[in-house]
Amino acid sequence: QSNQQIHVAGSSTVLPYAQIVAENFGETFPDYQTPVVESGGSSAGLKQFCAGVGPDTIDIANASRSIRESEIKACADAGVTEISEVKFGYDGIVFASSASGPDFKLTPALVFQAMAAKVPQDGKVVENPNKSWNQVDASLPDQQITAFIPASNHGTREVFEEKVLMQGCKDSGAMEAFTKSGMDEDAAEEACMSVRNDGSVSEISGDYTETLARIEANKQAIGVFGLAFYEQNQDKLKVATINDIVPSAETIASGEYPVSRPLFFYVKRAHLGVVPGLSEYVQFFLSEQMTGEGSPTVDYGLVALPANEREEQISNFENGTALGSKS
């Protein structure tokens, strides 16, 4: 009974898209029940996914990051050997502040200098002394530095660290300064990615609604959002440019806007043909009408894959290219 319905679990970032697809799937294919899509994080989703094969396990795991080697191994240990990885789009990550505030034109280097725990100054490595944005750079508004960034349990944090802080660290020459001050490479990288904890940068472990609420309560603050969330709340939020590029589906898809991450889901191939509608669901997900241009998911804010890449994902899935069998 329970294996007649597709069961999906995983990332809460992917949830809205999976939800849209599941709903439309149920409406378009009245033969099949609407899939159940659990939220709860990529971690919990993949853990359930890797719990084993059988009617009481889930069929698909949504993830806002790629599956890790150790997880593939854990899966294999539990008998989940054939896993299809499906990439279905990108999530753009943007900086936004209250719509009533001034504009922000940021670069990774500026973000690094505003938010890093330690910055080089006059050749020495010092605790970040910057109190307001215009201390970082005169072009920025004279406004206290208050930022809300994703906490370290969020996939977004990884992107933020790698594509913004790390990049900014290198761009601003801080990396060099760190190594010069006697750190080895690991320590320097770590220093690049550590965020100041003197209260001006706060972590958010919840969802973007929380970040939005915090910005509404503190109009001076700047926060990190998903592109989709920002687009739904444009009347309240003002987006910051990075390297003078305005984030949008087009600029992200073209790679001009640097900060984005791919979204995935993983399919348990052993359940294909067993769970009714599973392969139809995957194909439906990747179809033009669901994740192509002008589809509801893209309306919602998904950055669609270029058409050729989507074709590739479909054929990968149909050819049965699996992760598990490789390792």
């Binding site: 009974q1 329970s2 319905q5 069961h7 679990a9 809460s12 949830l15 809205p16 999976a18 939800q19 849209i20 599941a22 709903e23 149920g26 409406e27 378009t28 009245p30 029940q33 609407t34 159940v36 899509v37 659990e38 939220s39 709860g40 919990a44 359930q48 719990a51 009481d56 889930i58 719509a99 919840g206 969802d207 973007y208 609604t209 989709a228 969330f229 687009e231 739904q232 709340n233 444009q234 009347d235 309240k236 509801p296 919602y300 804010g301």
Partner: protein
């Protein structure tokens, strides 16, 4: 006699000795302060309640109305096939492009040309994409509508709905709001035609989860919560009361009962998410119960509520004076009879309080449900407690995290529904409690 009285009083008045100082002024001041503390405490509690309620209701009451548009729909045979075809195979009927019917109806209503791509897409943005199901159901119920034209009330899109309810700041530049100037124009037009109306949002109560705000409802969640509360009530109340009776009335005072007592107190302090871990490990992985099922949720919440009920019940049992027990025992009532006939009824108000608080807590809990898969998108109604379902707090939690503006009011709307649920539970418990309450 009255003479004597008068005299007597006069005498005493004359010879009145000074009153003893028992610090009456200070003590009365203390008394007044004490009473004031009580009033202040209650005022604080109620004040916060009012603030919370106000913030919920002021945001949420609009969720109970939903904008609908009356659109003349032509059930064109070209789009959905003929009735004969439908009798042969339903596939065409099921898969037909119903949204096109709605779109055609709407552009006809607004009098825009089908070639004007921009205008058509603007108009299309006014109606919900959930029309597919609405229109399909109409056709499936009655094949004779095929080929005719009918006026149908369709859900407006959530953007239109929110705009009408004033939830968007329409003064910001057009590109920064989800509703365009053209669309606003159309809305004016529809309003003039009387084709747009705010109607009571039954869907909020009956629909399952949906990614579209206008078709989203807490139907599945209500059923799920109902199942879970029934399970909790049916299991936690008797088990909790039984355990308390054993511990308070029967158990010998030894290490084992101390162990149980400490255990119960400790379980009260276990974070609710840990009960989710327990449910996952024991009920799902071990007993093999299905994920996302109200049954598992109910069991987990039962375990979570038990300590509250047990602690409250034990305190209530302890407060029954021993003389009542002695009286019953002295008449030759057995211990069980004494407890069930006398002690339990007297402890009932306290037990009910514990139950209300425990149930209220269980009704509002999300964290443990996260791990057993109940924080999920479930569109279909569960027919048994073994089917996937969600719960009211889960729906609230999920809607609270939605980006769309229309979900903000729905979140509060769902909270109002949950509070209604709570109110029903409370009122029934109050009625019961009043029957049992007395001083002795």
């Amino acid at each position: 006699m009255s003479d004597a009285t008068a005299n007597g009083i006069a005498d005493t008045a004359a010879g009145r000795k000074p009153r003893r100082d028992i610090g009456i002024k200070k003590r009365y001041a203390a008394e007044r302060r004490f009473k004031a503390y009580g009033i202040i405490a209650i005022a604080i509690g109620l004040g916060f309640l009012v603030m919370l309620m106000w913030s919920i209701f002021s945001k949420g009451y609009t969720a109970f109305w939903q904008t609908e548009i009356q659109v003349p729909i032509t059930f064109s045979e070209q789009v959905i096939g003929t009735a004969e075809q439908a009798n042969d195979s339903q596939t065409k009927l099921l898969m037909a492009n119903y949204p096109q019917l709605a779109r055609d109806g709407l552009i006809q209503l607004l009098g825009i040309s089908a070639d004007d791509k921009k205008a058509v897409s603007a108009a299309n943005g006014l109606i919900s994409s959930g029309t597919r199901v609405t229109l399909r159901d109409i056709v499936m119920n009655d094949l004779s509508v095929i080929g005719t034209t009918e006026n149908v009330w369709l859900y407006a899109s959530s953007e239109l709905d929110s705009a009408l309810k004033g939830q968007y700041d329409l003064n910001v530049p057009e590109n920064r709001r989800p509703i365009s100037d053209l669309q606003l124009e159309y809305i004016d037009k529809l309003e003039q035609q009387g084709a747009i109306e705010q109607r009571f949002n039954w869907g909020l109560f009956t629909s399952g989860a949906s990614s579209r705000a206008e078709t989203a409802g807490v139907g599945v969640a209500i059923i799920g919560s109902l199942y879970m509360m029934l399970i909790v009530l049916v299991l936690a109340l008797p088990i909790g009361v039984a355990a308390s009776i054993y511990l308070e009335e029967f158990a010998p005072k030894n290490k084992f009962t101390d162990l149980i007592e400490v255990n119960i107190n400790n379980l009260a302090a276990v974070p609710s998410i840990v009960f989710g871990l327990l449910g996952l490990a024991v009920f799902i992985n071990w007993f093999g119960l299905p994920r996302s099922a109200a049954l598992v949720g109910g069991l987990v919440l039962t375990l979570m509520t038990l300590p509250t009920i047990i602690i409250a019940t034990r305190a209530a049992l302890r407060a029954v004076p021993p003389s009542i027990r002695a009286a019953a025992l002295g008449l030759g009532a057995s211990k069980n009879q004494t407890v069930f006939h006398h002690v339990l009824p007297l402890a009932m108000p306290g037990i009910l309080t514990g139950t209300i608080i425990g149930l209220a807590q269980a009704l509002g809990e999300t964290a443990p449900l996260l791990l057993i898969g109940m924080v999920a998108f479930v569109a279909d109604y569960p027919s048994t407690p073994l089917d996937p379902s969600t719960a009211l707090p889960v729906q609230i939690y999920m809607w609270a995290n939605e980006a769309e503006r229309a979900f903000v009011e729905r979140t509060s709307g769902a909270i109002i529904i949950l509070l209604g649920f709570l109110a029903i539970m409370n009122v029934s418990a109050i009625l019961l409690r009043r029957r049992f309450e007395r001083r002795w």
